[in-house]
């Protein structure tokens, strides 16, 4: 490896403080390449189990693709400094993350990326599981350049009546989707089901909203999660290629 190669793939990653919803200071994990080329940014929305090692690895992976990537800790307020699993349990017991607060925290993370010295001004978002729904939500509420929804439930379809959390379907907000949407789904998933994915695609087509959906056979919910039995290497490997191409296209200089 030459010195120039080493310079090009070196990255820096670590915890930063950013301004989230309501002006609150929250914790976030920022990973970015060290070279000074202009670059786009990606906000990573963690799954319900929290701001964990696997999500930080996803954040570093996006930096290795050449983006500045940041993952806000959505449980910063309920459980500052707690281990990710304890923080997720605390947030769950408190009723989960309200949608408006989520939008404010992701907006703060996007602003942080746009303020980095070599930002090209473009910011995308990617979310997994509950974060997939939240990625769609923020893309409907905030001006963004790209959004990736990885198997987010309840974008389409009502949650069961017993749901104590205010999780509402988002299809009626699709008209304000501000950017192209990449959707990654498993054919064996029921939340969202293939029929719900089809319904979302139909509505986006009707509204003239650019979108690209991929549904992988032999994969269910959580097929990107390398630390869980739902991991499907073939779907995840191909899925990451689609994600990388999409962000290259939408967030390139």
């Amino acid at each position: 490896m030459t010195l120039q190669d080493a310079m090009q793939d070196a990255m820096q990653a670590g915890t930063v403080r950013i301004t989230g919803a309501g002006g609150d200071e929250i914790e976030a994990y920022l990973a970015q390449p060290l070279d000074a080329a202009p670059r786009g940014g990606v906000v990573v929305i963690h799954h319900m189990p929290g701001y964990d090692e696997a999500t930080k690895e996803i954040t570093r992976r996006l930096a290795s693709y050449g983006f500045a990537a940041i993952c806000p800790n959505l449980y910063s307020r309920e459980a500052p400094g707690a281990s990710p699993d304890d923080a997720a349990a605390t947030a769950r017991a408190a009723g989960g993350v309200p949608d408006d607060r989520l939008v404010g925290d992701v907006g703060g993370a996007a602003d942080h990326l746009r303020g980095l010295p070599n930002s090209n001004g473009k910011v995308g978002v990617i979310g997994y599981c509950s974060g997939g729904r939240q990625a769609f939500l923020v893309a409907c509420r905030l001006p963004l350049d790209a959004a990736v929804d990885c198997y987010g439930a309840f974008v389409v379809g009502n949650p069961p009546e017993s749901f104590p959390l205010a999780v509402t379907p988002l299809l009626d907000q699709a008209g304000t989707l501000s950017c192209p949407l990449l959707g990654m789904f498993g054919a064996e998933d029921q939340y969202p089901s293939p029929a719900q994915v089809e319904e979302l695609a139909g509505e986006l087509t009707r509204l003239g909203k650019p979108h690209e959906f991929h549904t992988y056979p032999d994969a269910g919910h959580g097929f990107f999660a390398v630390d869980r039995p739902s991991y499907r290497p073939l779907a995840a490997t191909e899925g990451w290629q689609r994600v990388r191409e999409f962000f290259d296209r939408q967030l390139g200089a």
Binding site: M48, D86, T90, R92, P159, R228
Partner: protein
């Protein structure tokens, strides 16, 4: 999926967590992805003391069969003891 469904109960008793024993004041019960158990979904129970912070937590992740067996075991153990023996109003 992330079911989000969480059944909460106020409880009285104690639990032993990473930092030692603490008073338990609340349990949350839910079916969702486990953190550690090698399954896609499990029945999860958190024994918590919200006032003592997020680390005051005893967590278990059980298969459906195990959770049902545990219910039976709890009922069996309580039935084998005189009524009220473990009640909050017991005489000590």
């Amino acid at each position: 999926m992330c079911t989000y469904v969480t059944v909460k109960r106020e409880v009285e008793g104690s639990g032993k967590g990473a930092g030692g024993w603490f008073p338990v004041s609340q349990t949350t019960v839910y079916v969702d992805h486990p953190t550690h158990a090698p399954y896609a979904h499990t029945l999860n129970i958190d024994f918590l003391n919200p006032a003592a912070g997020p680390a005051a937590r005893v967590a278990v992740e059980l298969t459906e069969e195990s959770a049902l067996a545990l219910i039976e075991a709890i009922q069996g153990a309580l039935a084998a003891a005189p009524a009220g023996m473990a009640s909050r109003d017991q005489k000590v």
